[in-house]
Symmetry: C2
Subunit: 136 residues, 2 copies
DNA sequence: CTTGCCCTTGACGTCAACGTGAGGTTCTAG
DNA sequence: CTAGAACCTCACGTTGACGTCAAGGGCAAG
């Protein structure tokens, strides 16, 4: 496969693939004329890289960790990295869930503007219902 | 409160607070000499901003959404934004969980190198207690 | 009054993951 | 054989959320 094929199948730009190679994330064979040649596994690898990027891992870190992911084995140092990043991801998920809850709260109140958790509707009014949930 | 107090209590830099004001995220009163003055709610607001940042919302978007969060009411356009971002966050969480699963897999295999999901240990040998590499 | 800390407004620096030409080469279809 | 699509290597531009340095102003204590 050439770079355009991989790009299309993995859903990234050719520029990204060249960047990955530059960073040592995605080695490529070359034809005699210098064009990059990839095997089928490249597509999957690109998707893995994207996943780790999305998880907030810097490319430098991915460079260190990809061999472990490939081999399924990690040195002590790599293990420390792995667990640290795993925990960081867990924390990130918690943060995202909190943020989503904030948005959900606004969505919910806005769709349901009769509730008492809406201070904008309670300015000087009495409570139309009994308590629904926890106090704010 | 002055800017340094808010920064310390919210766990951000004073530079960040000035940046938030510049972006219209965190208005501040001024003393006659021009120094910024914040009320108690500023700390909580900063933490909310940080949460939305962590969730991947751009500051421009937060500027649009904060009034809704404050008022608990959203226009149709804002509702579209809210639900779109909520869904995007949900997708992000799923991506993070996939990435974490990848790391967990490596951690698990590396801690438990006798399993059959480890291709590096099955390349022509069945030596579960032998270490990989350095075939001396 | 001076010391010292906190504050002010610029304005340039940073870092990552690419985007975007420029200018040239190679592959493929007709 | 020729056009044009796809590829190559530089190399500078972009974006966001600040960091950081510079040059000065404000204010309570000693």
């Amino acid at each position: 496969m050439r770079i355009g094929d991989v790009a299309e199948r993995a859903g990234v730009s050719t520029r990204a693939l060249r960047y990955y190679e530059e960073q040592g994330l995605l080695p490529a064979e070359r034809t005699s004329s210098g064009q990059r040649v990839y095997d089928e596994a490249a597509v999957e690898r690109v998707q893995l890289i994207q996943q780790l990027y999305a998880a907030g891992l810097a490319s430098r870190l991915i460079v260190d960790l990809l061999p472990c992911v490939d081999a399924g084995v990690a040195s002590d140092e790599a293990m420390a990295l792995l667990t640290r990043e795993r925990d960081r991801i867990t924390d990130s998920i918690a943060e995202l869930e909190k943020a989503r809850a904030q948005l959900d709260r606004v969505i919910e109140i806005s769709l349901n503007p009769d509730a008492e958790h809406c201070p904008a509707l309670r300015t000087g009014a009495e409570r139309p219902l009994e308590r629904v949930g926890a106090t704010s």
